[in-house]
Symmetry: D2
Subunit: 439 residues, 4 copies
Amino acid sequence: MLRAEEIKPADGKLGVLLVGLGAVSTTFVAGVEAIKKGISEPIGSVSQMATIRLGKRTENRSPLIKDFVPLAKLEDLEFLAWDIFSSDAYEAALKAGVLEKELLDKIEPELRGLKPRKAVFSSDYVKKLHGTHVKQGANKLELAQQLIDEIQQFKAEHGINRLVMAWAASTEVYLEYNPIHDSLESFETGLLENHPSISPSMIYAYAALKLGIPFLNGAPNLNLEIPALRKLAEEMRVPVGGKDFKTGQTLMKTIVAPGFKARMLGVNGWFSTNILGNRDGEVLDDPESFKTKEVSKLSVLETILEQEKYPQLYKDLYHKVRINYYPPRGDNKESWDNIDIFGWLGYPMQIKINFLCRDSILAAPVLLDLILFIDLAQRCGMHGVQEWLSFFWKSPMTAPGLYPENDLFIQQTKLKNTLRYMMKEDLITHLGLEYYHEM
Amino acid sequence: MLRAEEIKPADGKLGVLLVGLGAVSTTFVAGVEAIKKGISEPIGSVSQMATIRLGKRTENRSPLIKDFVPLAKLEDLEFLAWDIFSSDAYEAALKAGVLEKELLDKIEPELRGLKPRKAVFSSDYVKKLHGTHVKQGANKLELAQQLIDEIQQFKAEHGINRLVMAWAASTEVYLEYNPIHDSLESFETGLLENHPSISPSMIYAYAALKLGIPFLNGAPNLNLEIPALRKLAEEMRVPVGGKDFKTGQTLMKTIVAPGFKARMLGVNGWFSTNILGNRDGEVLDDPESFKTKEVSKLSVLETILEQEKYPQLYKDLYHKVRINYYPPRGDNKESWDNIDIFGWLGYPMQIKINFLCRDSILAAPVLLDLILFIDLAQRCGMHGVQEWLSFFWKSPMTAPGLYPENDLFIQQTKLKNTLRYMMKEDLITHLGLEYYHEM
Amino acid sequence: MLRAEEIKPADGKLGVLLVGLGAVSTTFVAGVEAIKKGISEPIGSVSQMATIRLGKRTENRSPLIKDFVPLAKLEDLEFLAWDIFSSDAYEAALKAGVLEKELLDKIEPELRGLKPRKAVFSSDYVKKLHGTHVKQGANKLELAQQLIDEIQQFKAEHGINRLVMAWAASTEVYLEYNPIHDSLESFETGLLENHPSISPSMIYAYAALKLGIPFLNGAPNLNLEIPALRKLAEEMRVPVGGKDFKTGQTLMKTIVAPGFKARMLGVNGWFSTNILGNRDGEVLDDPESFKTKEVSKLSVLETILEQEKYPQLYKDLYHKVRINYYPPRGDNKESWDNIDIFGWLGYPMQIKINFLCRDSILAAPVLLDLILFIDLAQRCGMHGVQEWLSFFWKSPMTAPGLYPENDLFIQQTKLKNTLRYMMKEDLITHLGLEYYHEM
Amino acid sequence: MLRAEEIKPADGKLGVLLVGLGAVSTTFVAGVEAIKKGISEPIGSVSQMATIRLGKRTENRSPLIKDFVPLAKLEDLEFLAWDIFSSDAYEAALKAGVLEKELLDKIEPELRGLKPRKAVFSSDYVKKLHGTHVKQGANKLELAQQLIDEIQQFKAEHGINRLVMAWAASTEVYLEYNPIHDSLESFETGLLENHPSISPSMIYAYAALKLGIPFLNGAPNLNLEIPALRKLAEEMRVPVGGKDFKTGQTLMKTIVAPGFKARMLGVNGWFSTNILGNRDGEVLDDPESFKTKEVSKLSVLETILEQEKYPQLYKDLYHKVRINYYPPRGDNKESWDNIDIFGWLGYPMQIKINFLCRDSILAAPVLLDLILFIDLAQRCGMHGVQEWLSFFWKSPMTAPGLYPENDLFIQQTKLKNTLRYMMKEDLITHLGLEYYHEM
């Protein structure tokens, strides 16, 4: 990996390829436009607002991350989107119901200008949706080629320097491993033969990687993990990231569970329920899509709590996650967690957490940060899975054989120390004995 | 500070001097006895149950902390206590109502054997309590001398090797700085003249430090911070720690607030209320004692959220803490927090946390860990404030001029890296790039 | 119906036939024994503890209900039980985990004396249970006859005067209407031919009614509503009651929903989730049993809120009920309700209710009251559905063509005015103008 | 009292005199205007939306209350207001922050037309407020006379037929009984001599009653209860009502507590906390104003639960109410209740209720109903305390010697049966035996 002065500069335009122009994408784009106009601050964005401490506490060096590492500027982002409905970003944002009309009206021209291309889609993979703005093609390979052509045309027309693609569409049904996933050859044959084990999200990822474009998987869908695509990423030396933007209940879990473990408090039950009323809720009401999501949501506690290492504390943990479609909640999402913990002498305690949350509001800055950081990674010569970006994922990918790190605070240390490492600054260990003792 | 092979061994008996034999102390002692008998595991104790990762993840070296650093063994602990009531530890535990009679009966002989000495006490400093088992003396200096004599006698009679003293009694009224606090001379004059700015907890701390014994301040009382005692600790080269055991609502705050900050989510309101029914609740119903506690509880968010560094996110934070005496809750404690956060484009979200907590169950293992770690610190030649033990304190003391670290996860990193440093192991930075990239 | 002096006296023993000796039955029996011994008060029992106001407020006549109407005395209750396990009531109570051993030990002899008979059972109707203590018989008619014989023998041996039977066992799978349910003849043919549309609870009800014994259906199972059994009850002039003891979340719903309606507040969403860990939870984890329960739980709001009468307020109500098996909760049950209401100018508000409940503790006094009141009804010459006992049922039965009354407060008025009517006292209308105006 | 055909008709205009033009008044007026324009339904108003069942259930007679009794029409309401700020109703509504600008803009002309007169005010009675739009006068009698003159002028100018005055302003400090309250003579002397025991709300009430105008006391202030004003109301044969509009947490209490009592469940603890951020919150942050409110809020449970009648269930009830000023909540109000109940064999259970409430949204329709019903009462010849309107009050006034009825459901029965009595319809007893038995 390249460091400091060798990192390629963030010059020119960065093309952002959005798969799906729904609640998350429109909230993201609207936010970027509002920030560019000075209407709002980039709240929730680590790349834009967080500082990074350098050196000793007494040095008082804490620049903004965006002033420390060479990131693309918001002014240099250029958007392209695909969606299964033809609404432009303004209409789509109104329909999503996340942002108030009053705000959207201030950036209407910018949003109107973003009109989605037809999507690669089949309701075999998202049972509850019925798209009307969908690409036609003889087979899945042809569909992939259509995507590639559109991207190249977009790049040429807008004088784009670099690109990043992000899946910000629905959760697909749970797909099992299939031998055609094994090699690039078998996968491309599968594309040609319309193999059912190839989902739309795999087609998008394939198109991106073929062009050497980093791909971010914002849903729990299976795609980047299949050997064919993993190898393609390596071969093309492209960094990738996934999966599932970390928001809502899982965000809270990866905050709270590390606290219990830090204090060696046992946990014997964790019941999580969610109510949500938007398209996402409707999609997840389908048991097959829910299964994909459930696998992503359940794994979080295991890796944080390390049941094998602490059997007295965590081996009997009963963890249950439920998602309920509940239209009165609209685009908002609400979770209720009951956590049964135990302490000294086994005495039980309970914690209940009720989160009145807005999923897209939490997801949008994550999407921004991931786009900017993975572009940075590519300019540093990094490729494959980017573990240092685990911070942003509900279910972070890892190198084969390594367990994922789900603890938000270890993830944060990893993120910031990686940035320090890139820029040749000392890593922070929080030892701090030098302030107290001759060492 | 001494490292690895030079650290003095944890041989012989460690005398534990407990100020107060109420809910926390009896739960602690009962637990230690139950663990020694194999009735229970030391749940909640970092020193006993936590592991510490050494080297790279792939090395799989994660010994228990107690097998890694030379700590005193539970079998070597010997207890002495002072209390304002004459009940032995068995009766006091029954009265405290934390532990079930069925459990206490199994260790009745051990608990019966711990009979408290008369306490140094005046209801001027804890308005709601009226002790009956209280030392008499011509002045405060004489009272201190009585404590010193009792400690020396205890040490001699039981063949004690080393000692630690811990304040596990009530919160005293809020005391302002007074010039007699400035130097050891003026303080000792104050003792002699019964100066009202010298509280019982200062007298205990003075007695301990005069004997070179580490002192732990488990309540928010003012004592170790006054210059007279700080200098005495330096002079005697004694490590000290405070203040206020981190439990309940504040524990949750120092878990959750770092999560919001990590994700750059704004916080504009945090309302915390508590209901508790025991002696502690009664004491804190007195506005003067509550003020001491409030100062301790309020400061937590400021230092975690760093309002000056992130004014757009935290400058308008309205933080309110309430404690309510509510007898139906008995010894249990319950908190309800309402947290108003905001994200992307300023959109608001809410989080409500209801913690059905048991304070003494959370405090007891903290007390154990602090005793064992501060004894270790002394054997390493460390003295004065032990910032690396911030993890255990609601309101950690610091060196003058340094802000306290309240983020539980930074505190944990600090704790573990200090242990690694003592034992000459590499510090952990969570960089982990070596698993992914040639470096 | 007979009134006042004509009501037959409550002389002699009242035999209580309990179908199921699980959590509810053992809690009920243990409680009755504890109350008889003076260990406890009959908390939660309207028949034992409630008063009834008679005449004007200024008359100050408010006798206990049990002193006002002629009820059987607790001393006169004699128990018989059937269960699919052979444990006696002491062992069964320990296993149920509702009551503490310390309490059970005080009434061990009484509980040991209650040994269940073999049950009529088939796991076709309760999928998750596998009984070991089950009657054998050539067909369902023969099983019914075995029950009849056991009841008659019990009556003779113990010199029983009157009897009541109560179903206090599990929820059966959802059964659809079948033509064999139509007449007594077709039903008895069905019994002989082992028809699958005849469940064990129908067999118990049949046996009771054939003997002229009132039957109480404490679960949401279909039995008393089928025409065959309804006609049998009428023919034998037996009062019956059902269904599903009103406890927990539904109790709260029938308290809270009438409040919203009283104030003409709209409700557009009600999400109810439950976590429970006992046998009941396991049974309801089976979708077929859950369906039976769900139908019972969902209907409550409709009849209270009267959507047809108040379409502007309630026509869009989205009501969802979930039950989750969650072993860490043990026998306790916990519910969380999110209620979306709206007021003046359509402005939304939210209410969250978290009930840390004990189901059997709520059910036991309901069972007691129903037994005593239905025995009273029989002595008053009342038969068929007893609408005045709706107060105690989650899903009250009604005369054909009448809607059920689910509002707890109307149910209470109905209950008390019926008692006043029986005893020839004035009904209470709460008019009260006489205290303020000449009328 | 007059009945049916003798009730005077609701002809002509009804003048509504609003003391205070803050959140409640503007929400009320805006709502009335929006309803008149067909923009909204009168959600939350019993007089406008509720039906009343007449006769037997099988008769299906359930007219709207407003079609059953002769009430004034919304079209006939004419408003006059006093406030300590000069903002018109449009500006005041914007400032109150309850209703959205989008809605207010649709009725701007109507709201602009309502400009408040200068208020009778002194910050001696509401410590936290500092009014700028305040009447001057030589003494309190002169101030009362100014009010009387303004009312008579308003009546004449607008051709008003009848009038009602309502206090919709802040809670005043707690006032003790003083001998000058005893007779009209001493009270008028007090007015003349500026006696400090005469608060502004007493001056308004005096002005109204002198003119024979019904007075509604929407805050917990002491006024109508003092003998001088009670006698004046009787003498003038004017109906009056108070006190404190029933909203929020107390509304929930009077819904839920009757449910516990109906089921004979014990209650040993009830902790209620509130967070609110508007002017009301600021006023109640003053301990003297809070005391007035606390007395009003605490009494509710006592009269519902009848501790003397049910000592085993309620004598140990520990009830605590807290109100906290919390600016982030804005005009909304949020309450959290912890309720400790116990059932069969004394086993404890807990209920937590979190109400995300909007106080003015709940208060506005109550104000409307009270205005319309007290005008009806006057036309029926009723005077003095109107117990049948207890339904709408947090702390209902009663005839001397009678306890207040706080149970919402008894209050509702009382309200509806009074309407039936007025109109010579049968009172409803919910007996209903006629549907099941020959009687």
